[in-house]
Amino acid sequence: MTTVLDRLNFALHRSMESDERVYVLGEDILDPYGGAFKVTRGLSTKFPTRVLTTPISEAAIVGMASGMALRGLIPVAEIMFGDFVTLVADQLVNHASKFRWIYNNLVRVPLVVRTPMGGRRGYGPTHSQSLEKMFLGVPGLKVIAPNTLGDPADLLAAAISDEDPVLFIEHKLLYTRQLLEAGKADLRDYQVDQTFGDYPTFTMRPTKPAHLTLACYGYNFELARLAALDLIMEHEIFSEIILFSQLSPFNLDPLFQSLERTGKLVTVEEGTISLGWGAELAARSVEKMRGLMVRRVAALDLPVANAKSLEDKILPSVQDIVNAGLYIVE
């Protein structure tokens, strides 16, 4: 069995082996520590000159990566916690994402910024957030999130090969998760299709006609599957699941195709509910389809509390998704 962490680590090793322009930089990434979440484990031993441990200087890490990318290298920057992306916002929004366009396509910025997001580990308000929504809709910046259905190694390798900047969002709870296997366990009763391209969107269709569509990405796919199972077992409600790898810019065709069949949308995300990813999907969907019903599941508009009892209430649960499904169907 192989985990998401294994696959991400493998992709970094393979990319550094196959292309000596690939550099990895970030805080505390050298062996034996190998990074706060061990995604960079082994790299500094194998490629000591191309793995650069930095001071605590997030803006400089991403700014330097941007400059490296402009001048012929392929940098992969690690931001230790996703909460710290606020410190690199200027670099991503005003520099890396803009250069190609404002310089009239004369340059490319092949830059990856990897960062772990998400809560449920009791890390409290500044180490548990899902801030990716702040970077959705920034022209020139791709936001990508791995999951257990596609191969995270392929996804990260594609991001490293991408000639444009990519913000790569890794939910902390995904690292230890096993990859799913086609036709087995959770996937046994589903037909799985995926779009072509580097960052596929997956469509999971149950064997019976579905009543609703669950849209999700990253770790929340784990919750959405459990909710879908509960809805079948307890309520005989069937769900299609649309799983995004690319959050921004987005291709909503698979979602729209599913909604043509179900007419009901539940979005699931771990960021705060207001003005978020689900809100945009809902808006696009109702603009497209008259009479569509929508329900969003997301975190409350509060900081993520340190106490587990409070954190559980603030972040979306499987039961919240089930309840949204019941509400929208009944």
């Binding site: 550099y23 001071p55 803006a59 700014g63 330097m64 400059g67 990318a69 404002i102 310089y103 009239n104």
Partner: protein, 305 residues
């Protein structure tokens, strides 16, 4: 020592470079009243000795990251006045097709962006790339007294020094960050900021292009030597407003700094007959640039990124 391919090592050429910048910026400011140029700009008038002196000793293969006040740097680097004028007019023939405008240009190894501080780590990353690729190039990053308030500058100085990157920080102190005098914005010493990181500093209060040139030669050689970053601090004066209408300085102060004119200072070294020659050659360059650019078409919008 490698010299600019423009061979700006004679007094006439140095004077002419400064005069191109002066006349270009004057024409640019006048075009706002004709409506041919809209938006804003940041004129380099008064600081011409810095760019002309520095780019007379820096290799044109070297990498430059400039800021909002980039026209003088670009022209001294060897950039074409016509393409810059077209960019400022928002024409398809501009350096970057009208997308970037005054503050966001790119040509060969020259880059600029309009964000204070944020360009510095990018320049440091470029220096890392040049070092790793063994190109022998250095990276020049232009900052001002105002940039000293930005945190990412210090992050970059620290890493550039730790990793011995071939970068030359050029700090042009024109005494004002937009309207804020340096006394209200910069505590302590400018040079000590750099020496605290172990970065050697060449510093002078001057508007003499030959003085700038000799300091830049030493500072650039240091940055190129493999020992790590270097810093060149030039205390200078901008004659124009920060952008267009934002100049709180008194008439007395303006009169005082206008006496420190790099063209006057360096002009003392020219023969009498060289002035009309410089004037006519420069007028042709600048007039041709703006007149030709004004006839060019505007760009089409492609909705794809």
């Amino acid at each position: 020592m490698r010299y600019n391919v423009l061979a700006m090592d004679d007094n006439f050429t140095l004077y002419k470079t400064m005069l191109v910048i002066r006349r270009f910026e004057e024409r640019l400011l006048s075009e706002f009243s004709t409506g041919k140029i809209v938006g804003t700009t940041h004129a380099y008038i008064g600081q011409e000795a810095d760019a002309a002196g520095i780019f007379s000793v820096v290799d044109t293969e070297d990498v430059v990251f400039s800021n909002h006040r980039c026209h003088g740097h670009f022209l001294a680097y060897g950039g074409e006045a016509y393409q810059l004028a077209a960019e400022l007019m928002g024409k398809a023939s501009g350096l970057v097709g009208g997308r970037g405008g005054s503050q966001h240009i790119h040509w060969r190894n020259f880059y600029s962006n309009g964000i204070q501080g944020g360009i510095v780590p990018i320049a440091a990353g470029m220096a890392l790339a040049e070092k790793e690729r063994n190109t022998g190039k250095i990276v020049l990053v232009f900052i001002g007294d105002g940039t000293l308030g930005e945190g990412s500058l210090y992050e970059s100085m620290n890493i550039a020094a730790l990793w011995k990157l071939p970068i030359l920080f050029v700090l042009e102190d024109n005494h004002y960050a937009q309207t804020t005098p340096v006394e209200k914005a910069v505590a302590g010493s400018m040079s000590a900021r750099f020496t605290a990181f172990g970065i050697p500093v060449w510093e002078r209060e001057t508007s003499d292009v030959l003085e700038v040139r000799s300091l830049a030669m030493e500072a650039a050689a240091s940055a190129r030597s493999g020992t790590g970053p270097a810093c060149l601090i030039l205390h200078t004066h901008r004659f124009s407003a920060h952008s267009k209408g934002d100049d709180p300085r008194s008439p007395e102060e303006l009169a005082r700094i206008h006496k420190i004119d790099p063209l006057t200072i360096h002009g003392l070294r020219l023969a009498t007959e060289e002035f009309p020659r410089a004037a006519s050659e420069v007028a042709e360059i600048v007039n041709n640039a703006f007149d030709r650019a004004s006839l060019d078409p505007f760009p089409e919008l492609c909705s794809e990124y």
